[in-house]
Symmetry: C2
Subunit: 626 residues, 2 copies
């Protein structure tokens, strides 16, 4: 093991920003075809090298003539001129206009020699070889002089301009078909860790394999910040290979990012490579998450090591790395990448480091935005889509008060607050109602926790199933019922007939978690059985094999039965039918969608209410009804 | 000629929007690789088909054990367990944890069979084959259960979701490497008109050729709206070819756009094709610009004909076509595509049709945004980059008052107001000062017009050269001087020595326009000469061949001398040196950058002041000094 430095002196976050801003991330110039220039940034100013138009150009359909010949002409006394010919757009004039004559011209045509104005056709009358002009015109009327639009030698566009369609238009007019733009910094992304498998490849669960989340996420973020991501193959646990890839990436890219391997030895490889062929600029920043952030150079390329948890990796990228990539690409932070809001809840904090707090957004319905903390460091990927961005909480903060104004730095300029924030029971009908509305967010926290959160005022809607312990002031948006019971293998080979069989026979059962409404209904049934038998609920559940083996999602026990890991699972008839399993009904329960009364006017809530009222979804799910 | 309908009954703009919204623009589903999914819109919901994680996973480095074995353990009385082995991340556990034993595990490792919790390494002490556990843990501590993050069967992402980096992350976690997204509508773009030449190809000015501006501009706008542009070859005036291309585009695309040929016959071809193999849905809309808008279908594809002037084409595209493309692509209008402001000037209007008024933006410096009308229908491409967007002025409006609140629909979500709006004298030094600041806008309207506009309160800065007729309250940001005179061919073959030679000899002269400061200095010199000779200024100028032949840009007269079209041109020593020509000095003049006093605090103005003060640019331009 190399002599790894301890994180004794964490540098302040501002210093980390400075160090990263000081890294050299390219910034050269390349030429791209005009049709690929949109969104790029001009590397230098573009001057016109031609006049636009390049010739005196008729701007109306009419007659090219000498203005002097029309002086005094009016409706009563038109000027009569001999027509010497026509000039069409896109052709060289074949006539010359002398005094007393005119030539018919189309809009866009070259002014024939001798003419200095064009009279609109509407103000003329053609009579055989003559035209009567019923108005006087001045020299230059109806003509755009050569260079009147853009003159050769004029500054057309400045350096640093982002090319949008209108700039494409001006470049087109100037005949520029190759545009000098800032190079996009090339950003190499290496995933390390023997357990990581690229999405699309199968996982071997028994070895603890998981999909590599950070590589594509960071690649997409690099692209969004104006860089060009380059994914390198996965080196796994082969440190020789990892070292080779790090050097290769450093040679080919302006910046190399790794996202934290969970293995200490992998960090050591990075450390050794940085020390051997680069420079270590900092190691350890007083920030949460991201404390062990490593910044340096390898073979002249910049290097930043990101944390391994997806939300943490995205947070550190957003805060420290994206600004440097944008700067190198010549881009500004998009204005939609920050929103203001106020804290929905009080959040304690006292760690003495800058905290980059992942936060979700919910709209109050009166235009205000509430901000709530998300992810307590679990490393869950679902936190990725629950969090909309981050709030920087300074190190000297004790807490953020409810209602305190905060600024959220969004994870992407494309992130929008959800139209509805719903929490609670994981229910297949509700999940389909959500499909009918735009941008909903649902957090499957169970009925009990859903009700608690609704009471605390954060979500718009709680979905609640089965018996509940508390009442929360709310507006019912709709309700439906679902049949629940025991999901068993096809044909019910063990002949399970009801709850009593779980108690009396050798049946491997799998339960749902305590927060779920299915569990609440099951416990009510257990109490009833206990009463019948003159024992306690605990007396019943102690004899059920697997009563404490719980799963969080509605279909999970059924899938364990499908996989042969259990003989019976708590679940819905709908799940058993979806998976082709057997089902022993134990009852039906109501599922209710309850809205926060203050938010009842929100558009998303009304859309959800409509979707529930429609109810055709219920016909497609076994055991569901209105 | 086909029987073309007259634009008698212009349909209301709302009806045109409805008709276009009713067009079928695709909307199918395609599968794209995960690394190409960013920015796309999910075509259908994505449910998890695996548990994440797929196994019980240690979430800390430490010892996997049975929680029950730690009950009662504390610092004073640790639990001592026999260590049966190690489980590394990414490998299958080779040990089973029985009561009284523990296995060392890394974060991310698979929980070994028998263990139900992990104690953090920090709370343990390793002593040879034993570990002392100094705290009690509960079942599940330090473990993420299979499916705890996402459970198989759960709804992961809904239809219609725009994929940002965080959605890429969730899809990665689910192992999704091909993402079902909405197809982008294919939009065919045809340019018609015999005078049009693709950017990059040379122009024949004598035939009146100009570069095709609309094709690439509209293509870039299509892309920005979420469509896939397809450029078709230019058919010129060959109507057979044009008809063939229209049909080809209609077969290959969801929508075909043409942008108005100036030729009536080209419109007739479109007309005939629409009537023969499609349906004419509307022709003529009560809107300015865009009255002759044609909407229909060809071979089942949608068809819209756009106006020919670049600003008009972009305006009609932005207003009527982009929303339909976005809708088909499943995208919302970006929130940055509209800004609010107030009218900088009074704008009269009385045409009885909806007016889509091109408008420029300028920031007041106090956070407010002023909006001013741009482009009076000249068809200039420079209007494209002067206008930031459009203001919809309803048909029943008589005027927009100064200060009236208006909403500007930007030409692109990437459009930002300029940091500085400068107007006035076209000066090579000033144009280089602009290169040093971000996002300036300069309109070369000449010194006289520049001063008038500064007085009227729209621009931030006026650049003024030479003698001026008026005084406007302003703050001088900086000033410099430049040498002016007559630009002549190399070696001055005609031996022109001064102004008198233009009067007394046969010299073809080319002047600058009346608004320019150079012209003002020249006229002062003419008056002096007239006084010397005891005649009038007009007496002098009448005898100068070409005194009325004027060019708008500072280098244009010099370029005419270079091309042999004139013997002497009013200009700067800097221009003559840049083009390798001769120069006859007539004097020096001051150029001043004058700021609107109310805007002096604007960041862009301060940046400009700094750039002028630096002044190193002046050393690079002949005849310029501080």
């Amino acid at each position: 093991m190399s002599e790894r430095k301890e994180f004794r002196d964490l540098v302040p976050p501002e210093r980390a920003r400075e160090v990263i801003a000081g890294l050299e991330l390219g910034g050269g110039t390349e030429r791209v075809p005009l049709d690929a220039a949109r969104g790029r940034v001009l590397a230098r100013r573009v001057d016109a090298d031609i006049d636009v138009p390049g010739f005196g150009r008729a701007t109306v359909d009419g007659y090219a003539l000498r203005a002097r010949d029309t002086f005094g002409a009016d409706e009563a006394d038109p000027a009569r001129l001999g027509v010497v010919g026509d000039v069409h757009t896109g052709e060289k004039p074949g006539v010359t206009v002398e005094s007393g004559t005119a030539a018919s011209v189309s809009t866009g045509a070259v002014m024939p020699p001798g003419a200095d104005a064009v009279v609109k056709v509407e103000r003329t009358t053609r009579e055989d070889g003559e035209v009567a002009v019923r108005t006087a015109v001045a020299p230059g009327d109806g003509v755009m002089a050569a260079g009147a639009d853009v003159a050769a030698g004029e500054r057309a566009l400045g350096p640093g301009i982002r090319v949008t369609p209108r700039e494409v238009g001006l470049l087109s007019a100037l005949g520029v078909d190759e545009v000098p733009v800032r190079e996009r910094p090339r950003v190499g992304i290496l995933s390390t860790g023997d357990e990581l498998v690229r999405p699309g490849d199968p996982l071997e669960h028994s070895r603890g394999e998981i999909h590599d989340v950070n590589s594509y996420t960071i690649a997409a973020s690099v692209e969004e910040a104006g860089g060009e991501p380059v994914l390198y193959p996965h080196a796994g646990d082969d440190y020789g290979e990892m070292e080779r890839l790090l050097r290769e990436a450093a040679t080919e890219c302006d910046l190399v990012l790794t996202s934290g391997s969970t293995s200490a030895s992998a960090v050591d490889v990075v450390y050794r490579v940085v020390e051997e062929c680069g420079e270590l600029l900092l190691h350890g920043v007083a920030v949460k998450p991201g404390k062990p952030m490593l910044v340096g150079t390898i073979e002249g390329a910049a290097y930043v090591g990101l944390p391994g948890y997806p939300v943490s990796a995205l947070t550190i990228f957003r805060t420290f790395v994206a600004p440097a990539i944008r700067e190198a690409a010549g881009l500004e932070e998009p204005p939609t990448e920050r929103v203001s809001g106020e804290m929905a809840v009080r959040e304690r904090y006292a760690e003495g480091r800058l905290r980059l707090m992942p936060a979700g957004l919910v709209e109050r319905g009166d235009g205000g935005t509430l901000v709530y903390p998300v992810d307590k460091g679990s490393g869950a990927t679902t936190s990725l889509v629950e969090a909309d961005g981050i709030v920087e909480v300074p190190a000297d903060t004790d807490y953020l008060g409810e209602g305190q104004p905060v600024e959220v730095q969004l994870f992407s300029p494309e992130v929008r607050p959800p139209s509805v924030l719903a929490v609670g029971e994981d229910d297949p009908a509700f999940s389909r109602f959500l499909d009918a509305i735009d941008r909903p967010r649902f957090l499957p926290v169970g009925s009990g926790e859903g009700l608690r959160r609704l009471r605390d005022g954060v979500p718009d809607v709680a979905v609640v199933a089965g018996p509940t312990e508390r009442d929360v002031e709310s507006v019912e948006l709709g309700a439906w019922s679902r049949e629940w019971g025991l999901v068993v293998p096809p044909e019910n080979p063990a002949g399970v007939e009801g709850l009593a069989d779980l108690v009396d026979r050798e049946v491997r059962f799998v339960n749902r978690n305590r927060e779920s409404g299915l569990r609440a209904s099951l416990e009510a049934a257990v109490s009833e059985l206990a009463d019948d038998r003159g024992t306690t609920a605990a007396g019943v559940t102690d004899t059920i094999d697997g009563f404490e083996l719980t799963r969080r999602a509605h279909e999970s026990p059924a899938r364990m039965v499908e996989d042969g890991e259990a003989d019976a699972g708590l679940g819905l008839r709908a799940s058993s039918e979806a998976l082709g399993l057997g089902f022993v009904p134990l009852g039906t329960q109501r599922v209710r969608a309850l809205a926060n009364p203050d938010r009842a006017g929100k558009a998303g809530i009304r859309d959800l209410e409509t979707a529930i009222a429609d109810g055709t979804v219920l016909d497609t799910l076994a055991g569901f009804e209105q």
